[in-house]
Symmetry: C2
């Protein structure tokens, strides 16, 4: 590159009233008190006089003006052919489709008038133009007229400089520029030349550009040594005298080296082909980054500005074939401009948002005995909320320190409590039974008794081989007995119904398929695929220990270093609780493992078992069978697994063994009389379905604790047990802690310590599915008949049930009631569905409507859910 | 999945005037006489009665209706978090940004009213909605009202079915549907449930959907065995009785299995994340595929339709997180619909376009002696067009068969010709010298003389070691002598000027850097990086053979199996022509090779050499030097290479040795008195700059043939030689063949056999750069002074030159003449450029204007190009 003169400054005014834009080289850079970010535009002319500059954004004379140039660089042929680039063919070679770029840019420009864009390659633009409607062409003319779409360079292509003949350069520039002249007149006439990609800039090219009337010339590539010197000397802009023969200034050309080739700054590429983080300006988002980004940008702009002599600097926001989805770029640029030019506000907003939550303490890790608050506080309140329509008794368990505590109920009466030491750690848990009214809460207070050590029920690991005496736990309803040889559960007895069922329960593991020759499909996040169909026992026996207190009886079983279980009976409880802890599953033997808990009985189940469908109706399952086609069973285990969201059961003509889960698990009955549930999995291979990693959690995800509730009952009454227990398990009470012990608590005389939202409990068959605020004086109410047809023949709970809603609730009276469809978005009376004739012969049936009497007296049919939008009058106290 | 009934057909009319849409199962599929492609929408209701169906597109009762459902599937959390998916963060994990999807879909829907789209996940939609302006929200409401944007499913998420509790399902559906109800009322109410991704469909989910009032349910995943049966039995659609307790049809649900999970058909994914070929409907494009695509689509649709009982079938056009750039999808769907539903016309258009070119034969491979036409024809015409402003003599060379030919000039006079056999093959070439007037053409005729074998100058490879006698070729201007030991060029003599210069010319190769420890940068498409700085000789000597005829004298040099050269002098030629043939370059030794032709002389050039800048002005180059910074030379060879587009020369005070190239090549002078040009490269490594492959051409790209024209002259007159020769070389005559030999030719009495567009030749210093049609009575004219200031001191060709354009041209008279800037897009008088003050002290200078006399009498300053838009009056004859 031949440079004959240094740029020194002061642009010629020529009587046009142009103020000085370029400073004399002796003038130091002005301080940068503020920073203004504008959209594109090249040569900022405050008192603009050339037609094309009239539409320029205003600049700030006392600021560093950063010109964000939204652009795309579209090679007219490179790795693909011109047509492949234009249409977006062979995107496997390079993702590039110019037709979409132009579509998308026009659309983004129309969406927001402050946006601007430059376009360069007329070979592509003309192809696109010819495919547009007259209306679109008119819109584009408007954008060009307004300077929102600006052509730069404007040749047919951005020609190479090193290897081209001047005749060809002139021809291709003429071709492109004529296209623009014919379509847009002087509005579309490029004012600057733009050779961001060519390397090895020739003097002749500059001379030709000058003779074509360009005001300036921007390029990206130059010798790295040259660039270092120019940045240091602030000679990134220069006047190029590009001919030894032509009389100055005919071949003089203002030339500017772009700061970053033609790319956007690091971390600020917001194109579909980039992976930079977009601007997240919502401070509530966990991904919020606006403040950091602005700080980074300011630093960047200031640094860049130092390589140029004026208070103007360009940032090229775009690159090769970018803006195929222009909205991505513009949306983030819009935000950046707004953020940088003004939303200080952001940090204020953040401050405002912080610390808004207080008072209540939610201990989310109670199931693993972690709650720093209750472990430290000397006194606190326990608020227990019960969302059910019936009163419950709930055993509260809280991690505490090694002390004696006094627990008082809402009426200030002392209730019995225990402090037990956990087998798995040195931690203690406080136990007490709380009673909570229907749709309400009770507040219990807990106070440490100073200087007194508890007579804790020490469960430190003093496990031993099972003794030759029979271990048993028992309350008024249930007895569970354990095998003296193995320590495993051996027998369950329902004392109330006088039922006895030998039940052997233990843990097993399937070795997971790793995707080898024998089975190409690996077991993974999506696929359960055992390598062998027969599971192996985790251990053939368990070390056991018995714990009995007034509140609880427990047998602790230790199967291995990573598998243990507590089998528990609280006083008054009609089910056996199995709390298992599994993990981290060892995989040092290179086998991924899928752990099941299996119950084996002698019930003659004839291949049948039952699982819930989303916790509501019950589905009959038959081993190796599908109701709608003849199954070719290729997976004897996995092919018989079904989702268990709340329960799985087996039965014979007399007895039913039901296992309720506290979470969704896979389950099956692979042999008659058997139930199994998968409790944990740890796998070494990805199953190739998209997650891209094996199910190989580390840390807190590597072990799990859960509960299985086991009911033994007669078949005809079993539904009462599992329906009501499942309801309590799914909508278990929320336990919330609050500071303030006995002392401070008493001072607040108005505090309500117990409350029920209902005037009376709901019938057993009715489940209060939803009661939620829908508006200031509006509630959403859903009532469900939770028994299926014929399910309960004992207490007749499968019959229709009628309910009077009028005085049911304690805090409001219902003034108006409108029944809706299930999701509450349509009134039931006006809801219409397409109705289909089927060969079941039901024919068109009118949509069932509400009852005819007082609309607040409602009848629920078995399994029916009725949904109401309820207008209410709040009672004074509430 | 529990299916209680087969779908049989006939939708209930219910007095609404609905025509039968579903047929009875016993009715066979209707024939498919036509095919109509519609946009999306699910349950097509011709006499629509539910609010949401009013806006459905019309269906064709007698056709297979293919419903193209434009959709995106947006997991609310999967590999990324919800916010990461929404904003498009961590696109390296998965490319997905829902904010852009919704932006883009709305914008695409607005662009074209026939487009429709469904959206599902309200967790995302609500996030997006809250960030929109009131105006945008209003626009979206309109789209929803018109059915152009339709919500389906409409829950907060598309919930999993296998592991979820029904209470949670109801809650999340309620949350999403309420959002829609509040914003859009019944317009936004989803009519169908849409669970395209969940696997393991639960009966309860269907029951809940029915109770929510959905008219139908679409899903994608089912057991592969189930699907096979359903397709065969045409049970892909069914009525699902989803409750054992609820009274039918409360829990009955029309359910449809989508044909292709939820993906588009193969090869029809037009999203930014896909690489399928877009619809190219322009038959002129080499990528045209519309016809094939339509045929494929028809076949596909017919096959798919056979799995369903009605004449309706769905194609899901979208997939995971698609439509981030909705325009891509819609643009191609628009085209597909238009093409399939009508625009037969295509094949017609193709036919119409074919065979439009005729008569003239362009032989584009003359330089490698390939032209099937001239090789077969017994007689033909040779039209030679000369674009220069001066008459030329041109040696025509055409491949012919082994015969004797008679060649006649435009005046029917016989001209001498030779037939020579080529050294590189068994082919013959016909040679004759043609004279062509300025800006005109001459037509020569060639006729085979039957039954006569030529006395060919056989150049079959009978090469021999050089003889101990001095080989020389010579015409009236030039003599070239060859070294008897090596066969290399040894000496050039300019007989006219009495100059003698010992010149040794040979071929060498640089071994290319492969990017190892020594030099991490490999030589490749972008980078020339020799591993060693000293090139190795291809051969130290050449086998030679001398050929002399009346028309040409040639020395054939054979350096190796892949490198040969013909050094040639035609009669009357002032330069030596070196035609080299190089390739395929052997790389079996694992070295990439870069081949140069090097001229070594004893000229004392003091580190200086000269190259052209884009074929126009000449740049002085100094070895290991840059004019604008102190160079740290790290690449002694590559760092001294410069582009040579037309010429490179060296000189001392007396003599100048100029080499003209026939193409752009890299060149340098790495030692005083030396010139080298790179003629070919074959490399084994990619240089890592984006092409992604090494420069390792196979086939026709593996060998090259080119020419170097060597001029030896006095320095003061050298410019005349190389300027005029370069002009002839760059704008060499176009040789076009036509059928019709002497006989048929004579019958066309009116045919012009010689023509010149100029009344007189242009002065030597004036180059006719452009004469091109600009409009019906308008031409673009560029005239160039092709000498630089002071360049020619011999004939004074560097002086300004004045030209009278008024009667210059033979076919038109100039009626008006407007001077423009170089690219002809601005009038020169009104053109304005920003003017810059520099410390060169030129100050503001008015833009040079045309001369003051008759505007058609123009003066050209050295190196000046003047551009005119010329209005013309065509003369009668032309």
């Amino acid at each position: 590159m031949d440079v004959h003169a240094r740029l020194s400054g002061v642009r010629a005014g020529g009587g046009w009233g142009v103020t000085g834009l370029w400073m004399d080289s002796s003038t130091p850079l002005p301080p940068l008190p503020h920073l203004s970010v504008l959209f594109l535009l090249f040569l900022v002319a405050p008192g603009a006089w050339a037609a094309g500059y009239k539409t320029c954004p205003k600049v700030m004379p006392d600021m560093l003006n950063v010109h964000l140039v939204a652009h795309t660089h579209d090679d007219v042929g490179w790795l693909k052919t011109v047509d492949q680039y234009f249409y977006g063919i062979h995107n496997d070679i390079q993702h590039a489709g110019v037709q979409y770029i132009l579509d998308s840019v026009i659309s983004a420009l129309l969406a927001e008038p402050t946006r601007r864009f430059i376009y360069v390659e007329i070979a592509f633009f003309s192809r696109w133009w010819h495919q547009q409607t007259n209306a679109t062409q008119e819109v584009v003319r408007d954008l060009v007229r307004q300077g929102r779409l600006e052509f730069v360079n404007g040749g047919w292509v951005m020609n190479d400089e090193a290897t081209t003949h001047y005749g060809a350069i002139i021809d291709q520039m003429t071709l492109g520029l004529r296209f623009l002249e014919d379509r847009f007149g002087s509005d579309g006439r490029p004012h600057v030349a733009w050779h961001i990609d060519p390397f090895g800039h020739s003097r002749e090219q500059a001379s030709l550009f000058a003779q074509m009337g360009f005001d300036g010339f921007f390029f990206g590539r130059l010798d790295y040594q040259d660039k270092i010197v120019r940045k240091a000397e602030r000679e990134m802009e220069l006047m190029w005298r590009a001919s030894a023969s032509l009389k100055p200034p005919v071949a003089d050309l203002f030339t500017s080296v772009l700061p970053n080739l033609y790319n956007p700054p690091d971390s600020m590429c917001w194109d579909t082909v980039c992976a930079d983080k977009p601007v997240v300006d919502d401070p509530r988002s966990p991904e919020y980054n606006a403040e950091k980004l602005v700080a980074y940008f300011l630093q960047l702009a200031a640094a860049q500005g130092h390589s140029y002599r004026t208070n103007h600097t360009v940032m090229t926001m775009g690159s090769d074939f970018q803006y195929e989805n222009a909205n991505m770029w513009f949306k983030n640029l819009d935000k950046l401009i707004r953020l940088v030019n003004a939303q200080v506000l952001l940090s204020n907003a953040l401050a405002w948002l912080s610390g808004s939550k207080k008072d209540f303490i939610f201990c989310r890790e109670l199931n693993i005995s972690v709650c720093p608050f209750s472990q430290k506080a000397k006194s606190f309140q326990v608020i227990i909320y019960n969302p059910l329509g019936r009163k419950i008794d709930h055993m509260v368990r809280l991690p505490v320190s090694k002390h004696v505590y006094i627990v008082k109920d809402p009426k200030d009466a002392v209730v019995p409590n225990d402090v037990v030491t956990l087998s798995s750690s040195d931690n203690q848990e406080l136990l007490f039974s709380a009673s909570v009214p229907a749709l309400g809460f009770s507040i219990y207070s807990v106070t440490e008794v100073p200087d007194q050590l508890p007579r804790t029920h020490n469960l430190q690991p003093k496990f031993r081989k099972p003794l030759p005496s029979i271990l048993a736990i028992q309350n008024e309803y249930i007895q569970a007995r354990f095998d003296p040889d193995t320590g495993l559960l051996m027998e369950i007895r329902n004392l109330e119904r006088n039922l006895l069922l030998p039940v052997r329960q233990a843990f097993f593991w399937y070795n997971a398929s790793v995707g080898n020759n024998l089975s190409s499909q690996a077991s993974g996040a999506y696929i359960f695929r055992p390598y062998q169909q027969e599971p192996l026992p985790v251990s053939r026996w368990a070390q056991t220990q018995l714990v009995k207190t007034a509140l609880v009886q427990e047998v602790h079983q230790n199967f291995s270093a990573w598998c243990s279980q507590v089998i528990r009976l609280y006083a008054g409880q009609r089910y056996l609780e199995l709390e298992w802890t599994v993990g981290p599953i060892p995989v040092g033997d290179s086998w991924g493992k899928e752990i099941i808990s299996r119950f084996d009985t002698a019930l003659e189940t004839e291949g049948l078992f039952y699982t819930d469908s989303n916790g509501r109706e019950i589905m009959e399952r038959r081993r190796d069978y599908r109701p709608s086609w003849k199954l070719n069973q290729t997976e004897p285990v996995a092919g018989n697994y079904y989702p268990v969201n709340s329960r799985i059961y087996i039965k014979d003509r007399e007895m039913q063994l039901t296992v309720l889960t506290d979470r969704s698990q896979g389950g099956s009955s692979l042999r008659d009389g058997s139930i199994e549930l998968m409790v944990h999995r740890r796998l070494l291979k990805d199953d190739g379905r998209g997650v891209g990693e094996p199910l190989l959690e580390e840390g807190s995800g590597s072990w799990v604790r859960g509960r299985h509730l086991v009911l033994l009952d007669e078949v005809r009454t079993a539904a009462t047990g599992h329906r009501l227990l499942a309801e309590k398990e799914v909508l278990a009470p929320q336990v919330v802690l609050a500071s303030g012990g006995g002392a401070s608590y008493h001072s607040k005389v108005t505090q309500v310590k117990q409350f029920s939202g209902l005037q009376r409990e709901l019938p057993s068959s009715v489940h209060l599915l939803t009661l939620a605020r829908w508006g200031p004086k509006m509630l959403l109410l859903r009532l469900e008949h939770q028994f299926a047809v014929g399910e309960d023949s004992g207490r007749n709970l499968s019959s229709p049930v009628t309910l009077d809603l009028r005085d049911l609730f304690s805090t409001f009276t219902i003034t108006h009631l409108r029944e809706t469809t299930l999701a509450a978005n349509q009134l039931r009376t006006s809801a219409t569905r397409l109705q289909w004739m089927s060969d079941m012969g039901t024919g068109p049936v009118p949509h069932p409507s509400g009852s005819q009497q007082d609309p607040a007296i409602i009848t629920l049919q078995p399994m029916e859910i009725r949904t109401f939008l309820v207008s209410v009058q709040w009672k004074k106290d509430s």
